[in-house]
């Protein structure tokens, strides 16, 4: 008899616990935007400090581990620098010529993007999302593209809070957009694979795509403005029985090295 009543008591306790938990979860989901915004607001200064400390520490570890490689790279960069310097000189001349031609033809320079600068305050555990310190009060909206100062595409805003916004990286599993190989008429879609990995899909089997080719966004899907840098081709996979090739992409962005990002606020679909 005692055991039965004890069992009933335990069952009651569990049932009450489940009801309270269920009600709490419903409440949390209704007010999730406010709750998350409050937590981000409180945590942002601490997260920013830890982000910077972590960044410096990981850079230090990486430097120690890569000293030999860095020496070789420095040598290569030195040579490349000399090459680029000579190219800049010739490009400067071309620029002047171009400007003169534009003025002569009466063509206005292409409108630059309207940009909003933001700082990264945190990163999601899945490495698919970053949190930036600008939100709806700064005029940000869902789907605004996010880029680096070097015009490298990072992702797009998926959630906007009052003071913060969540950015989905282009490497997220649900990220899909159109891209093309720079200076070639090779089109395809960039699909995220998670863990900062991406692949270039739906490339026609006849396309001449090579390792090292640079990918940029195209206008086809209308998700991102055209010409933003995505990454380079790392590996091309070809299967004879399939009409398309798939290529692995080495992203241009390095989440560990990012501090500031730009949000394109005047891009209309």
């Amino acid at each position: 008899m005692k055991i039965v009543s004890q069992k009933r008591k335990n069952f009651k306790k569990i049932a009450i616990g489940i009801i309270i938990l269920g009600a709490t979860l419903v409440f949390l989901n209704i007010f999730q935007k406010n709750i998350r915004n409050t937590f981000y607001l409180i945590s942002a200064p601490i997260q920013k400090t830890f982000w910077k400390i972590g960044n410096k520490s990981s850079n230090l570890f990486e430097t120690i581990a890569n000293i030999t490689r860095l020496k070789r790279e420095a040598e290569e960069l030195k040579n490349k620098n000399q090459e680029l310097t000579s190219q800049i000189i010739s490009l400067d001349e071309l620029k002047k010529e171009n400007e003169n031609l534009r003025a002569a033809l009466g063509i206005g320079l292409e409108k630059d993007f309207k940009l909003e600068l933001a700082e990264i305050t945190a990163n999601d555990i899945s490495q698919s999302y970053i949190l930036i310190n600008k939100g709806s009060k700064d005029g940000l909206q869902k789907d605004f593209p996010v880029i680096t100062p070097q015009k490298i595409l990072i992702g797009k805003i998926i959630e906007v809070y009052e003071n913060y916004s969540k950015v989905m990286l282009i490497s997220d599993k649900s990220s899909v957009f159109d891209a093309k190989v720079s200076e070639k008429e090779i089109y395809g879609t960039v699909n995220g694979r998670g863990n900062l990995q991406m692949f270039f899909d739906l490339i026609l089997i006849t396309s001449d795509i090579n390792i090292g080719d640079v990918l940029v966004t195209s206008t086809i899907g209308g998700i991102f403005p055209k010409g933003l840098l995505v990454g380079t081709i790392k590996y091309v996979q070809k299967e004879d029985n399939k009409p398309f090739k798939i290529a692995e992409i080495e992203p241009f962005f390095n989440i560990k090295e990012l501090d500031d990002v730009f949000i394109i606020t005047d891009f209309l679909k």
């Binding site: 938990l21 979860l25 949390l28 989901n29 999730q32 709750i35 998350r36 937590f39 945590s43 601490i46 997260q47 920013k48 830890f50 982000w51 400390i53 972590g54 960044n55 520490s57 990981s58 570890f61 305050t121 945190a122 990163n123 999601d124 555990i125 899945s126 490495q127 698919s128 999302y129 949190l131 998926i158 959630e159 969540k166 989905m168 490497s171 997220d172 599993k173 649900s174 694979r193 998670g194 863990n195 900062l196 990995q197 989440i255 560990k256």
Partner: protein
Amino acid sequence: MKKTLILVIFFYILAVLQTSFFIQFSIFGIAPNLILISACLLSFSAHKGSLMGGKKTDQNIGIYSAIIGGFFLDVFSSHFFGASIIILLVINIFIKTLLGFLKEISNRCQIIYFIIIFVFSLIIYDSILSLVLYFFNSVSTQFNLLTSLTKIAYNLVFASIFFYLLKGYNALKKV
């Protein structure tokens, strides 16, 4: 009440560290899940004859850890509120049930038991989270053996460190 408050502060610090500091030390895009490690360790340690000696007052620490830790995981994630709480509660029940079959864990074997339990917990966590993402966020996950093994190995390093830290703390408390 005091213990709950300590758990809240502890898991909050872990969540902040996890999303801002340890994320910088990711390998192949994988970062350690400190909250999952701690929730598993606390569930494990609450068992009779394990690290905490299974005091009556510590019996529910696993449930509290799952709720509090899950809450902070949800705050800093993109899925709906409750997903991580429910997964951690499932893991807590799994650990409790598994340890229920063992009467007493010998001191030398504790780390081995914990490692095995943690690996299974990590697999459960990832599997259920993939299902949640598939049904609620329409995100399908492709299984990659190398990524999965890296995730297990990397998390195990931190899990072992946390295990010995808790063991050391308990030994100090006894003295």
